[in-house]
Every structure is written in structure tokens, then in C-alpha cells.
Symmetry: C2
Subunit: 333 residues, 2 copies
């Protein structure tokens, strides 16, 4: 097997984040579930936007953020996701390419506008997301170039893709192609309510080894195994997944296989500003480490380092070179 | 004379800032003058954008930033400026209204796109701007509602308006209306090269008392009086202006009239991130203080406080309530 050209290929919703500071009252007034992600239609998105404070627009999208992180660490990275040829779509394409990610999915000429995630950051730094998928949900199997998948060491998929039928088909096509080429497939569980909607399907993806690596945070793994007990949930993941990665915010993370368990602490931070992107950037560091052949615990440390960078500023993409940061922290990148 | 409804009305270019971190090399490669503002056409704007790194989009515009600052301090504020009915125009209108500023100028249905300022922030925190005015340059005298001007204690104009002929006419109309109503007119010199292009006209505006307050930074006041000697430049402004306000970055500011001089130090900061908006927010605090009837030195201190907030993060608009900040610093707002 020849060495793959890309360390990681991400497939996900191409979104622009529209971020504003907000008081808890605003969340209550709109019946939002704090800390979660809700899919909204265009009319709801308009209503929330009208109620939001002054906003900052920064390219986002869960898997897209991860791939920008992988590129920032210095590894070849690619991304597949759908935008429309409008202002936000142009910004998304510019930003991900400027970050060094190979992004080739053609923009839709018509139809729904480029998707956006309206993100409300409360004074405690927690982020609550309302996402209008727009063009992103029209990602189709045709948008997945087979050679791109087979030329990537790891194909990384976000669970958010599981909502639209076409995107789900694209997801499964990519997972199949990756395994045919002898590559790894990784899945991020993305959101506890997303897990709740598709639990049997996600469990099947994991148990059937359609995915090799499963990323989850505490709420997601509990939702997956329908338990309030963290240890039981982790035990479930250990049994089912080839490799399970559970992130726990300031409590660090657990890496579990049937043979091994590694508990890795969170990296220190000077100030906590905005949780947006923490999980995405953890995945970036971990996937990078894994693709470079690091030990699992080392890969997790690199994930923690990347997550720590992104929670110290607004927005879900790194504001400095993660490669430099990793080097300064003593990692051989 | 009845009390005016608005403390400050701003008239300026309605722009969205597209901000990216950049190395000095990029400035050199594109022949940019570091720290300055250059007007660019659409093709130049495209070329610079293509060369820029991942960007953050935040509503901007010099006078618009100032008015957002005035509103954040808790005073009634209004703004006049031209956008197009496109994505960026929508974001501009949303953001300035969400900040509490009365913004009523109708968006253009066709013609040039909403203007944008491509801002490159170098590692030293300096910002270099390339502005495509787009729709902003089509601001016309008809866009200035006479009752809005007469109902504002201070009408604040940015020199950048002096470039397009229609905007210049709108500027003069507003200044005339303000004085007819017994209100004050303030001018920000905006940029040293802007001063260089229109020196005789700006001197005439100041000497004829078409404007009462003149804001300038060190480079601008030197350019206005064509001297490298700061003291001579300030002496010139003292002679010519009813009230001169000269900002000097970390050296604080000077407030000069023929009778008085006040040197006010800069406010302390924890970390310097991005100079964008420093002058705009200084003007916000100063105008707010003046409209509230504070002493000149106190108004300058409030200006320094607001400038200190905005240079500690990316973007030219405050990220916290300036009213709260001012209260915490002991000012009665």
C-alpha cells in the first residue's frame, strides 16, 4: 500500500459561524437548550439572528474546523462539504483554503444559501448553536471523489451529516471507499441530541466497524448508551468501538480500546473565553498524532493542546500556528 | 433650544472589516504602507483577499465604530451610511442596530456591493487597511434627514467621506444643518494620506469653523501642517481649531484650545492585540463625555478607556459594555 497523500480527509457540513455574546435570558426566550446544537429552518434562523447582538462571522463547521486544525499542525489535509456560490460560501472557501486545506467541492449555483450556525456565547463561555444547514445539506455522494478518500490515511466524518439523506449516502460511500483502500474511518458523535435521534444507526456504524475511531464527549457517550452513569457509558464504548475517544472538557479525556485505557489531562489555559471548537480541535490534534504514528496517549495530549488554544479566543479555528505551538510544547511535528 | 434626542450622530462609510493576521512579507509583496489606509478598486480588493489568510468578518467603518461605542456607553446614537442589500450589507445593518444605534439609511437595491475594509494585522498588532468603498461611496445628500441632524448634540464626520463627491456634499449638508440648529460638528481626520490629498480643504473646514472639533492622530496632524515637528503641528491646530484632540497611541492624548491644553495618559492594558478601532473608540468616549457635559480632561480619559478596551481584541467594536467598564472605572455615566 502506497503512503496516502493526505493525513486526514474531513467530510462535514460547510458552515459559517455567526457568533455573538448573549445573556442566558435570550436562550430562555427562544427555548434553546444551553450548550447544544439545534437545527433550525430559514425562518427560525432569521428570527434568532434578529434577536442576536452584534456578531462576528468566522468560517466554521465541525469537521471543517478539525481539518483546519490538522493543516495548522502541518499535515496535508482535505475537506469535502457543500456551500452555495454566495457571500458566505465565498468566505468559507477562502478561509479553509487560506488555512492550507485542499477544498475542492464545487459550490452550488442555486438553491439554498450557504449554511450558517448562529452561536450564542453566554458569560460562562458556553456556546449554544442554532444551525441552518442551507446548502450544506445538499452534499451528495457525487461530491465524494473516490481517489481523495483512498489517498487519505483517515477519513473523518461528523454525525451532523446523518441528518440529510443525501449527505448520509455520501458518508457511507466515503466510509466504504476508505476501507476498500485499507484506510481508517473516524466518526465524531457531534451532539447528544443528534445521538438521541439516530442511536441505533450510530451503534450499528460502530459495532459493524463501518467506523474505526469514535469521538464522543461525556454527554454524547451517555446518550449513546442511554445511561447517566459515565463509567457504564465508557464501558459500552470500550466493548463496541475499535477505538473510543471520550473528551471531558477540563477533566481531560479517556482513550479506550478493549486492551488499553489512557486518561489524559486537559492542557492548561490562561483564560477561558469560548468553548466553540474545543471538540473539533481536540480531534485535530488526536488525528494528526495518530496519522503521524504517535502513541495513543501522545496523540491525546496533542488533542488537548489544540483544544486549549481554541477555547482561549472567540471562534472555532486556531488563531496561531498549531505546529509552532506543538513544537514549543516539545512535540516532534 | 430643546434638548437633542441623540448625543451623537455619525456619518461615514458603512463597511465590513475583513480581518486576518498577516506577516510583514505580505504587505511588502503588495506594496502596502504599513499602518495606513489605502482605497482599492474591486479588482485590487479581490487580489488582496485571495492572498490573505483565514479572515474574520466584523462590521466596521470608522464613524460607525465610534457610534457603536457611544451607544455602548449608554447614550442615544444614530448613524448614516450606505450599504447594498447584500450579505455584508445585511450584517452591517444587523450589527449596528443590535448595538443600539439608530441606523435608518436605506440599503441600495443595486449597484456596487457593500464596501469592505481588508485589514491585515501584523504580529506587532499594527493594522494595515485596504478599503473597497463599494456602495458606501454612493452616500448622497438625500440620505441625510435634516431632523436627524438637528436632533443630535454632535454630528461626527469622518474625513474618509471626502473622497466621493456625493458623500462630500452629504457631509457639507449635515454640517450646515447642525450649525443652523445650534449643534456641534466634529471631524476625524481619519488618515494621514487622506489629509495629504485634501489638506487645503480640511484646513478650510477647520478655519471656517465648518467643524468645531477636530480629531487627529500624530501622523495626521503632522500631515495637516506639513511638518515633522509634533509641537509645531499641535500649535497649528491650536490656532486653527475651536477644539483640537490629538491622539498619540500609548503616549495618550492632547486636548488643545487657544486657552487650554490637557495632556491625558493612555489607559493601562493587559495585552495589546490589534490597533484597529483605537482612534474610533477614543472618539466615542470623548464625544460621549462632551455630550454629557464633562470637563475636557474627563472626556479624554473616557476616550482613553474606550480605546484601551478595543485594542485588547481583534476588531474595531467593543466586546463588552463600555457603560459597565466606565462605571467600574469610577465614571458617572
Amino acid at each position: 500500500m502506497i503512503a496516502p497523500r493526505y493525513h486526514v480527509l474531513g467530510i462535514g457540513n460547510a458552515l459559517v459561524d455567526v457568533i455573538a455574546h448573549a445573556e442566558e435570558d435570550l436562550l430562555l426566550a427562544h427555548g434553546m437548550r444551553k450548550g447544544g446544537m439545534a437545527l433550525v429552518d430559514e425562518a427560525q434562523a432569521e428570527a434568532i439572528y434578529a434577536a442576536m447582538g452584534p456578531a462576528t462571522e468566522i468560517s466554521g463547521g465541525s469537521a471543517a474546523n478539525t481539518l483546519v486544525g490538522v493543516a495548522s499542525l502541518g499535515a496535508p489535509a482535505a475537506f469535502i462539504g457543500k456551500v452555495k456560490a454566495d457571500g458566505l460560501g465565498r468566505a468559507f472557501a477562502h478561509d479553509i483554503r487560506a488555512a492550507g486545506v485542499n477544498f475542492v467541492t464545487p459550490a452550488a449555483a442555486d438553491g439554498a444559501a450557504t449554511g450558517r450556525s448562529l452561536i450564542l456565547v453566554t458569560p460562562d463561555g458556553e456556546r449554544t448553536m442554532n444551525t441552518y444547514l442551507g446548502a450544506a445539506q445538499h452534499l451528495r455522494p457525487d461530491d465524494v471523489p473516490p481517489e481523495l478518500v483512498s489517498d487519505s490515511a483517515i477519513t473523518y466524518l461528523e454525525s451532523y451529516l446523518w441528518d440529510p439523506e443525501d449527505a448520509k449516502a455520501a458518508f457511507l460511500k466515503a466510509a466504504g471507499l476508505a476501507h476498500e483502500a485499507g484506510r481508517l474511518v473516524a466518526l465524531s458523535l457531534s451532539d447528544a441530541f443528534c445521538v438521541d435521534r439516530f442511536r441505533p444507526e450510530f451503534l450499528d456504524l460502530i459495532r459493524s466497524r463501518t467506523v474505526d475511531l469514535t469521538f464522543a464527549n461525556e454527554a454524547e457517550v451517555k446518550s449513546l448508551y442511554q445511561t447517566a452513569d459515565f463509567d457504564s457509558a465508557v464501558a459500552g464504548l470500550r466493548d463496541d468501538a475499535a477505538l473510543g475517544i471520550v473528551t471531558r472538557s477540563e477533566k481531560g479525556c479517556l482513550i479506550v480500546t478493549r486492551e488499553e485505557t489512557h486518561a489524559v489531562p486537559a492542557a492548561p489555559i490562561a483564560r477561558f473565553v469560548d468553548a466553540t471548537g474545543a471538540g473539533d480541535l481536540f480531534a485535530a490534534g488526536f488525528l494528526f498524532g495518530l496519522a503521524r504514528g504517535c502513541e495513543l496517549a501522545t496523540a491525546a495530549e496533542m488533542g488537548a493542546l489544540c483544544a486549549a488554544e481554541v477555547i482561549q479566543h472567540l471562534g472555532a479555528r486556531p488563531e496561531c500556528s498549531l505546529r509552532t505551538l506543538a513544537e514549543q510544547s516539545g512535540y516532534a511535528v
